[in-house]
Symmetry: C2
Subunit: 454 residues, 2 copies
């Protein structure tokens, strides 16, 4: 791809990322990875206890084999040592294999970096896109409204310019190209548009984008010369009949040139899906079509963080490389995975139906992810009462809900919403029976609230 | 303490940190921590296997008790769930108890935040100190030369202004107040000096600061209205006879008013000491004497990272709350700890003596930490040859060392050094016998090098 079509070149990358040096992971260290092994032998942890577990009858053979393979991947070191900054090689390979199988198109381990949860990788890529510090020199990043607040928080921290685009609540929270166009046109001259963030399946909005919608977004990004940052951490959480997860990488690849050569970063996490192992802080990004010298800066920029937690990397491996048919753990794994996902699906249906049955509430179908984002049609008096307290009306509502029922939901104002609309985000994680009870409690509160402010 | 004496107030804190919002950990969520427990019950992981291990005879009773206590500290959730952003309460308490015992002065759990390694906490505090983006509006941070490159890398990333001060190689790499004064005076008008970073025991320089030196630094910081950031990750690694680790907090507290009221952040890690569990990415900071509203911003700023890895937090707990005399694990723990530390001490003596026995090398005593930082007195011809290759002379030297012997050391230029002086950093982590062999190999290389360029 010609330089003039690229978002990131050595001329347009964040100059601070180019400048930054981190000697203890510099060229000499890079050159010596092989030899470090020998030196690091002194830092070896006592393996005896691990070996005990690896020989224990309490675990199936394939599980132990898996553990042995990853320990070997730590190259003679233990899980207590630092890994290379982009992560353990064998796990990068497993991720690439997973993506290859998922999309039906090749993925390369060199394009994978592991991270401390997906948030960390997202911040790493956004940092490369930063431009200047003042006025119209600042980088502009298109973010959805409503959005997961990591994006707005990070852009504030980086002094970048958010370019908010509204999701279309009337059409299943999809992305309208005309709205994308409006948003970027308004931003031009005020900042330097550099990338578009898309969250699919959506957080907090629970939509799953259609393939057609993804194609339109890719074409738009190409026309506007934007890097696509696709937050795909909920790729295993799709519930709605007829919905399917398509990765931006897959769609872009199948669209052929010039789209298949676009710079793209896709993010995944160990904290979502059917495992939800959030305490391990595992995540990764696949970043494709970067210029070689830009990629070198990317790798340098993560070196100052040393490495993501090793056990978070290991949890990622269990997600991308699960037990296979015929292996001793397979049946148990399959059963647990199906149970978790089918319960989530039931709850997705439950909340959608229940919210739509309540006066003054409408709610798009929870197609994926782990959230419903119902809209509150609040009485004018409630809106007034909130304003008198200097609170957003949905904050006002959610705070009373918390005080009176103990139910904790996040007001829509924290995610952004169209002016004059009010929402909240509720997760579908609690057990089914508990959710039923909670939703009944919610309904009673809501009726009382409407009564109070009618 | 009066506002005019403070480094951080709502007027002088990084405005981006004030602006940043992170709704999913905002006021409603904070208000509902108790109730989240109930909701989160649905996200509970299967405890059965953990319980198996907790009842296994393979582990001593105190170890199992410790594990149970921390699991309870996770408040009904497992180690696979997110914790509160500043970390698990019971672990914050254990850290405060450890500091109280270490210093003989009270430490409060509210002043402790856990982090993803110490690096993460250091970046968090530096971020609060940022001021403007251009010229003399930028925050100035005093950093030692030589320094651990995290500091320079982070200041570049943040577009802050490093104020380098030279450590005194002629006096055990100590800090001379006259040099601190020179450095800050030269920086005034060019940036806004905000903090002084001190690494004690030193990385890469291996010195342990005297109590008197610490007092002088504190007085200097008070006079210049600087926050003290003390990187004390090697506090358990002190080898030299007559040397002792004094925390800045302890010394500051014992100096009384006004010094005991100064804003201070001290950093600790699970990656160093006698455990070296770097793969878990555990760390913490104790941050004292902040204004209440500034502290609220600090807590908000870490909320976007969700939480540090839970198992990293647990490893920190094992460090600050080790087995006590009388407990079943104590003798084994004591023996292993003593073995590790006494071997490190032997190697500290070995490298110091060996380097000083070689022509063209001088080396300060390795008093603490895990490194020697010997000075290379290179022949003029070698310096010339390096310049012709556009390399720093010590990089030139270290690269040849790597190519010819496989020995990987980091050139001093990556840490900063006085112009015209050349060094490298070598760790003392490999096993004793291996170190002996490696150092003999090194000696042969060095002699050949001197011969080649004499």
């Amino acid at each position: 791809m010609g330089d003039e079509k690229r978002v990131l070149t050595m001329k347009t990358i964040n100059p601070r990322a180019v400048e930054m040096e981190y000697a203890v992971r510099g060229p000499i260290v890079t050159r010596s990875v092989e030899l470090l092994k020998e030196l690091a032998a002194g830092a070896q942890k006592p393996f005896s206890k691990v070996v005990d577990l690896l020989n224990s009858d309490s675990f199936p053979d394939d599980t132990k084999q898996r553990a042995r393979r990853i320990l070997q991947g730590c190259k003679g070191q233990s899980t207590g040592s630092y890994s290379a900054s982009p992560g353990i090689d064998v796990i990068r390979q497993d991720i690439a294999d997973y993506i290859t199988k998922r999309d039906g198109h090749p993925s390369r381990p060199e394009d994978i970096i592991l991270s401390t949860g997906a948030s960390d990788a997202i911040k790493t890529v956004l940092n490369l896109l930063m431009t200047g510090d003042s006025g119209n020199n600042r980088a502009g990043i298109m973010i959805p409204v409503p959005q997961y607040p990591l994006y707005s928080a990070t852009l504030t921290e980086f002094n970048a310019c958010p370019i908010p685009y509204y999701l279309n609540e009337e059409n299943k929270w999809s992305l309208d190209v005309s709205e994308l166009k409006r948003a970027i046109d308004e931003a031009k001259g005020k900042c330097k548009p550099r990338a578009i963030c898309v969250i699919n399946p959506g957080n907090p909005t629970g939509q799953v984008l259609s393939r057609k919608n993804i194609e339109d977004i890719i074409k738009f990004a190409y026309e506007e010369k934007l890097m696509v940052l696709s937050d795909e951490v909920y790729q295993h959480n799709v519930y709605a009949a007829g919905s399917e997860f398509f990765s931006f990488k897959k769609v872009m690849t199948e669209m052929g040139a010039p789209y298949c050569n676009m710079e793209l970063a896709s993010f995944m996490s160990a904290s979502k899906g059917y495992m939800g192992e959030c305490g391990f802080r595992g995540g990764y990004a696949e970043i494709v079509n970067l210029q070689a010298d830009v990629k070198a800066i990317l790798l340098k920029s993560i070196s100052a963080k040393l490495c993501p937690p090793i056990l978070g990397q290991v949890v990622i491996d269990t997600i991308v490389n699960p037990p296979q048919p015929g292996e001793p753990s397979y049946e148990k794994f399959k059963k647990e995975k199906q149970e978790v996902l089918s319960l989530l699906k039931k709850k997705a249906v439950l909340v959608t139906e229940l919210f739509n049955s309540i006066e003054g509430i409408t709610c798009n179908e929870v197609m994926g992810a782990m959230y419903a984002f119902p809209r509150l049609h609040l009485p004018e008096k409630a809106v007034e009462a909130a304003k008198q307290k200097n609170q957003s009306p949905d904050f006002f509502y959610c705070f009373q809900l918390l005080e009176e029922t103990g139910l904790c939901v996040v007001p829509g104002s924290g995610f952004g919403e169209k002016p004059g609309t009010y929402h909240f985000r509720i997760t579908i994680l609690p057990p089914l029976e508990e959710m039923r009870a909670v939703l009944e409690q919610f309904k009673l509160f809501h009726m009382k609230f409407l009564q109070k402010y009618k």
